[in-house]
C-alpha cells in the first residue's frame, strides 16, 4: 500500500464532496478545451491557409469587407470593377493567374452564395498545397454549376440536380427564371468553397437582369478610368458599338422584345479579381498593390492582412477573455478542493494520529493529504480534458453540418510563454497539467501542513 492508495481511499470515503470538487475542475478544464477547439477552428478558417492567392483586387472601400465578401462570402460585395480591367491585369507580367469573380446572388434553397468565375479557379490551388478534387464534368453550358460539398449535403443535391437563384441586394425576393444544373460536386475543403455554388462567369452575365444599362456602365467607366484616357477610349468605343447594335435591333422591328446577344467586354463587370503573382518575386504583390493605389478606382489587398487584424482585434480578445474565464473557473475549483480537504481535516485528525502511531512520518501524512489534492485536481483535469475533446469529437460533425466550420477535436493551440526572459512557444494543453499540479500543491499545502503538525498524543486521545 502506498501513499496514493491511502489518499485514494480517503477520497473515496468522502465520495460526494470529492466527486463534486473534482467535477468542478473537470468542468473548468472541459470549457477550456472547448474554447481552444472552437478558436482553433476559427483560426484555421481565418488563417493564411484558407486562400492561395496573393492579392484580392476590388473597388476602393474597406479591405476587410472585400476579403469577407470575396473569400468568406459572408458580406455583400462592395461594388463592381470593369471586366476590361480584369483582362488588363491578366496581361500584367507580374501576374501568374488572375481569376475573376462575380457574385451577389444566392440559391433559392439554402441561400448559398453564387459565384461566377472561370475554370482557372478550379485549376489553381484553393489553399497552399491543396487542389480541388471534383466529381463530375467541367462546366460547358452557361447554366452549368459546380457546388461545394456542404451545399450538396445540406440541399441534398447531386449531379443533375436543378435549382434557381434569388437576386441579391437589399430586397432579395426576385427569383431569376434561369434554371441551373449541377454538373460537378467539390470534395470537402474546409473552406468557404464548401458553401458556395460556382457557375461559369459567362453564365452569370447571361442571367436576365445582370446586365447593367449601357448609360450606367458608361458613367462607371468614365469614373474608373478617369486618369487613363487611352483605356477609357477603348472601353467607350465598345459601348458605342453595343449601343449601335441595340439601336439597329430596335429599328429592324423587334420592338420591345429583347434579344439576348453577347455582352461586350466593356459592359461586363466583375466583383473581385483574385491574383497570384510570380512565386519567386515577393515584391510583385507589393508593387502591383501600390500601382493600383494610383490611377484606378481599385484597390488590392493581401487577403491575410485584414483577417489577421480581425483575428487579433476581435476574435483574439474574445478568445483571451474566454480563456481567462476558464482559468478563473479552474482556480475557483481549486479553492473548493481546498475547502473540502481543509474542513475534512478536523474529522481526520484521529486518522492521522493513528497513522502516526503506526509509524507514519510527518512527511508521509503531509504527502497523503497533498496526494489527495493532486488526485482531485489532476484527476478532475484529466476527466475534463477527455470530456472536452470527447464533446468536440461528438459535436464536430453537427457543427460542420450547421456552420460549415471544420472542428479539429485534437487541435493544438500554441501560446507564447515568457520564462526567465526566454520566450518559448508551447501547446496550451502541455502547460495545463503542470499548472493543475501547481494548483493542487498550492491548495493542498495548508491542509497538508495541518496533518504535518498534528500532535499524535492529542489526536489519539481526542
Amino acid at each position: 500500500m502506498n501513499l496514493f492508495t491511502i489518499a485514494w481511499k480517503s477520497i473515496r470515503q468522502r465520495g460526494l464532496a470529492s466527486s463534486l470538487t473534482a467535477l468542478s475542475v473537470a468542468l473548468g478544464v472541459m470549457l477550456m478545451v472547448v474554447v481552444l477547439v472552437i478558436s482553433g477552428a476559427l483560426r484555421a478558417v481565418f488563417s493564411q491557409n484558407t486562400i492561395a492567392y496573393d492579392l484580392i483586387v476590388g473597388p476602393k472601400g474597406s479591405g476587410l469587407q472585400l476579403v469577407l465578401s470575396a473569400v468568406y462570402r459572408v458580406q455583400p460585395a462592395i461594388e463592381n470593377l470593369p471586366y476590361l480591367y480584369y483582362l488588363e491585369l491578366k496581361e500584367d507580367r507580374r501576374v501568374v493567374s488572375a481569376v475573376p469573380m462575380a457574385f451577389g446572388d444566392v440559391t433559392e434553397q439554402g441561400s448559398f452564395p453564387l459565384v461566377g468565375t472561370t475554370p482557372e479557379y478550379f485549376e489553381n490551388e484553393y489553399a497552399p498545397g491543396s487542389t480541388f478534387r471534383i466529381r463530375g464534368k467541367r462546366i460547358n453550358a452557361n447554366f452549368d454549376a459546380i457546388i461545394g460539398a456542404e451545399v450538396a449535403r445540406s440541399n441534398g443535391w447531386d449531379i443533375g440536380s436543378q435549382f434557381k437563384i434569388v437576386h441579391g441586394g437589399a430586397d432579395g425576393t426576385h427569383i431569376h427564371d434561369e434554371q441551373f444544373t449541377v454538373v460537378s460536386v467539390l470534395q470537402q475543403t474546409g473552406t468557404p468553397n464548401d458553401r458556395t455554388v460556382f457557375v461559369n462567369i459567362e453564365g452569370f452575365y447571361a442571367i436576365e437582369g445582370h446586365e447593367t444599362p449601357l448609360n450606367e456602365v458608361e458613367e462607371r467607366l468614365k469614373k474608373f478610368y478617369a486618369s487613363s484616357s487611352d483605356r477609357l477610349k477603348i472601353a467607350l468605343d465598345q459601348i458605342a458599338e453595343a449601343r449601335a447594335l441595340d439601336e439597329a435591333e430596335s429599328a429592324s422591328g423587334h420592338g420591345g422584345h429583347h434579344h439576348h446577344h453577347a455582352t461586350p467586354d466593356a459592359a461586363k463587370e466583375v466583383t473581385a479579381i483574385l491574383i497570384r503573382t510570380r512565386p519567386k518575386s515577393p515584391f510583385d504583390a507589393i508593387n502591383l498593390s501600390s500601382d493600383l493605389q494610383q490611377g484606378y478606382q481599385a484597390m488590392a489587398v493581401n487577403p491575410i492582412v485584414p483577417i489577421r487584424k480581425l483575428m487579433t482585434d476581435v476574435l483574439g480578445n474574445v478568445q483571451q477573455g474566454l480563456l481567462v474565464l476558464t482559468v478563473m473557473i479552474i482556480l475557483v475549483s481549486g479553492i473548493s478542493i481546498f475547502v473540502s480537504i481543509y474542513t475534512s481535516m478536523t474529522d481526520r485528525r484521529r486518522e492521522i494520529g493513528i497513522m502516526r502511531a503506526l509509524g507514519a512520518r510527518r512527511g508521509s501524512v503531509f504527502g497523503i493529504v497533498l496526494a489527495e489534492s493532486v488526485v482531485l485536481c489532476v484527476g478532475g483535469g484529466l476527466l475534463g480534458w477527455l470530456s472536452g475533446h470527447g464533446i468536440a469529437v461528438i459535436a464536430s460533425p453537427f457543427v460542420t453540418a450547421e456552420t460549415g466550420l471544420l472542428l479539429d477535436p485534437w487541435v493544438v493551440y500554441w501560446m507564447k510563454f515568457t520564462v526567465f526572459n526566454f520566450e518559448i512557444e508551447l501547446p496550451v494543453e502541455s502547460v495545463l497539467f503542470p499548472m493543475l499540479l501547481a494548483l493542487a500543491t498550492l491548495v493542498g499545502f495548508l491542509p497538508a501542513m495541518t496533518a504535518y503538525r498534528t500532535d499524535v498524543a492529542d489526536a489519539l486521545s481526542s
Binding site: M1, N2, I6, K9, S10, R12, Q13, R350, E351, I354, M355, R356, A357, L358, G359, A360, R361, R362, G363, S364, V456, A457, L460, S461
Partner: protein, 229 residues
C-alpha cells in the same frame, strides 16, 4: 532486555504555565518475551508512559531503551520508523481506519516500515485471529470484538519486538474480553514479543504472571510553586 526505562521524567504544563509532573520513573525493565500487566488508577499517567515508550512523546529527561536502542536519542524521523518496525500498538478504541477493509488495516501497519507489504503474512495474521472470512469487511461491518481482533493482527504486522496494549479489553463485552486477552498473550508468546498491557481492571491483570502498579515505581513530585516563581 527488551525495554528499559531509566530516570525518565515527563511534565505537562498547566494552563498557567506551571509544570505538571506526570512521570518520574527511576528504572523499569522488561526482558525479551516477558508479559506484564501495568495497573494504575485513572489519570496516573499510564497512557503517557505508553506514548513515551513508543516514542510518540519524548520525555523531558531520561532514557527509553527498546531492543537495545535508546529511542530518546533518535531524530524524530528515525524514531517514527523505529516505532513502525519494532513496536506494536493495540488501542483501547481499536483505532481502525473506517475506509479500509480488515486486510487493508493490517497492511496499513506495514506501509510505514521499510519492509515490503506482505499480503500473505497479513492474511495469515487475520486467519490467526479468526477473521479469515472477514478480511474484506470494513470496520463498520465488524462487531466490536472483531474490530479489536483486527487491531491485534495489525499490531503484529511488522513482527515487533515490543507490543504495547492500552486497555485493549475495556470496550469489549465480557465474552470477548477473555478471548481478546488470550489472543494477545498467545500471539505474543508464539512470536516471542514482549508485552506490556496497561489496564485498570484487576481481573484482567490477574491473568498475568507479572503485575506492576504504576504508582509503585512512578513518583512524580508536585512542582513547588516557589521554584517556578
Amino acid at each position: 532486555m527488551s525495554l528499559l526505562l531509566q530516570s525518565v521524567r515527563k511534565n505537562y504544563q498547566e494552563p498557567d504555565g506551571t509544570p505538571l509532573p506526570v512521570l518520574a520513573i527511576e528504572e523499569y525493565e522488561l526482558v525479551q518475551g516477558e508479559q506484564a500487566a501495568l495497573i494504575g488508577s485513572s489519570g496516573c499517567g499510564k497512557t503517557t508512559l505508553l506514548n513515551v515508550i513508543s516514542g510518540i512523546l519524548t520525555p523531558d529527561s531520561g532514557q527509553v531503551t527498546v531492543s537495545g536502542t535508546d529511542i530518546t536519542q533518535l531524530p524524530e524521523v528515525v524514531r517514527d520508523r523505529f516505532r513502525a518496525e519494532r513496536i506494536g500498538f493495540v488501542f483501547q478504541t481499536f483505532n481502525l481506519l473506517p475506509g479500509f477493509t480488515a486486510l487493508e488495516n493490517v497492511l496499513l501497519g506495514m506501509t510505514f516500515s521499510r519492509n515490503r507489504s506482505d499480503r500473505a503474512f497479513a492474511k495469515s495474521l487475520l486467519e490467526r485471529v479468526g477473521l479469515k472470512d472477514r478480511q474484506d469487511h470494513r470496520p463498520g461491518r465488524l462487531s466490536v470484538g472483531e474490530q479489536q481482533r483486527v487491531s491485534v493482527a495489525r499490531s503484529l504486522a511488522n513482527r515487533p519486538a515490543l507490543l504495547l496494549a492500552d486497555e485493549p479489553t475495556a470496550n469489549v463485552d465480557p465474552a470477548n474480553q477473555d478471548m481478546i486477552l488470550s489472543l494477545i498473550r498467545e500471539t505474543c508468546s508464539e512470536n516471542k514479543v514482549t508485552l506490556l498491557m496497561v489496564t485498570h481492571a484487576a481481573e484482567v491483570a490477574q491473568k498475568f504472571d507479572r503485575v506492576d502498579r504504576l504508582q509503585d515505581f512512578n513518583r512524580p513530585e508536585p512542582a513547588s510553586r516557589e521554584v517556578v516563581l
